[in-house]
């Protein structure tokens, strides 16, 4: 499985703590690879690769598109990526070992679909897909990599973020699979819950969304040291 870390938003402690959490909550052997521009402080158990390898396109328009470049790259029988700003609350073995006949994303069950995404759909501002915890079986996400490469110019022009691209182009056409309800929570909406809790703050800044309530980063909570 893979994580991405670049820039200075998250430091190596984010990676190391996640590695420890996975170790405690996954009952099968795994390899964690961090794709990064800075290997300082990473524990030796974590493989590191240059994130430039995931950047075939010279663009800053679609935030975290690099995740899709993991598809078809030295795939194992099961493959996945995780965001760094997550907390694992419970054993995730079943999530990883279950069959993934299609690439599987998080559906934002913590937000009301009708109010948050359906009503403003036509404005192009909606998003109900989250790519913080994604897994697929070998070869089962090839279609997404191929579609993305084929339509890259249009995609990079249109979408500021990977999640929005996935929502408008692939969830709209029922091409994605999703984890079940109750497995994931959003700390800043419904607090702790499920097997994994997300913090999910990047889109607030990328979309210049002003928020009326404080949105916490993982390191601003006690969970950051709870591993």
């Amino acid at each position: 499985m893979n994580v991405l870390k670049w820039g200075n938003k998250y430091d190596s402690q984010y990676v190391n703590r996640l590695y420890t959490l996975i170790t405690k909550n996954l009952d099968i052997p795994f390899q964690l690879t961090v794709w990064t521009d800075d290997t300082k402080g990473l524990t030796t158990e974590i493989e590191h690769r240059d994130i430039k390898e995931l950047r075939p396109y010279d663009t800053e328009r679609m935030f975290t598109y690099e995740k899709l470049m993991l598809i078809n790259r030295d795939e194992s029988e099961v493959n996945g990526w995780l965001d760094l700003d997550i907390h694992i609350n419970a054993n995730i073995t079943e999530l990883i070992t279950r069959p993934h006949p299609n690439i599987t994303f998080i559906w934002n069950h913590w937000n009301d679909f009708r109010d948050m995404s359906l009503r403003p759909y036509g404005k192009g501002s909606s998003c109900h897909v989250n790519s913080s915890f994604v897994f697929w079986d070998k070869g089962k996400a090839t279609w997404l990599r191929e579609y993305t490469e084929e339509h890259w110019e249009k995609i990079a022009w249109t979408y500021k973020s990977l999640d929005k691209y996935l929502f408008y182009q692939h969830a709209r056409n029922n091409r994605l699979s999703f984890w079940g309800e109750g497995l994931f929570s959003n700390y800043n909406v419904d607090g702790l819950g499920g097997k994994v809790t997300l913090f999910n703050t990047s889109h607030l800044y990328n979309n210049k969304i002003s928020v009326y309530k404080k949105h916490y980063e993982l390191h601003e909570t006690d969970l950051f040291l709870a591993y």
Binding site: G122, K123, G124, S125, T158, Y168, R172
Partner: protein, 141 residues
């Protein structure tokens, strides 16, 4: 329909129109009542059950664009002139709403993005930029 608007005289020159990203259903119905064949392609899934809407993304999906293509919100999509050739009426604004990927500031921008160099007409109003023309080769009309 406010027939004093320049765009309406452009629209009524055609027997068949395909509107893209337009939710002005009153306008489209008025054009139909004038005998014009009007199609509506809109990616908004709120319209998926409407019989008068082809619920599809004109940029990404396989969808036939018939007659003159009227893109009502060019600020929201990749330039349609790069995926279709023909006659166009293009309208866009630069309000920069969340979800707008392509704010439209002037005629030259719309012409260049869409390859619309055979220009019939153009104008601005208080909020939008409009152009009318085609992106076919000089001898391809």
């Amino acid at each position: 329909m406010n027939s004093t608007k320049q765009i309406y005289s452009w629209l009524t020159e055609h027997d068949e129109l395909t509107f893209v990203a337009c939710n002005d259903f009153t306008l489209m119905e008025q054009l139909r009542s004038m005998g014009i064949k009007v199609h509506c392609v809109n990616y908004d899934i709120n319209y998926k059950d409407r019989e008068d809407v082809i619920c599809a993304d004109a940029i990404f999906d396989e969808v036939e664009l018939k007659g003159c293509v009227v893109h009502w919100n060019c600020e929201k999509t990749f330039p349609i002139g790069q995926v279709h050739r023909g006659e166009f009426i293009l309208r866009g604004d630069h309000k920069e709403h969340n979800g707008d990927c392509n704010p439209i500031y002037n005629h030259a921008q719309l012409m260049t993005q869409n390859g619309l160099f055979n220009l019939y007409d153009k104008y601005h109003d208080d909020t939008h930029t409009y152009i009318y023309g085609n992106n076919m080769d000089v001898d391809g009309i």
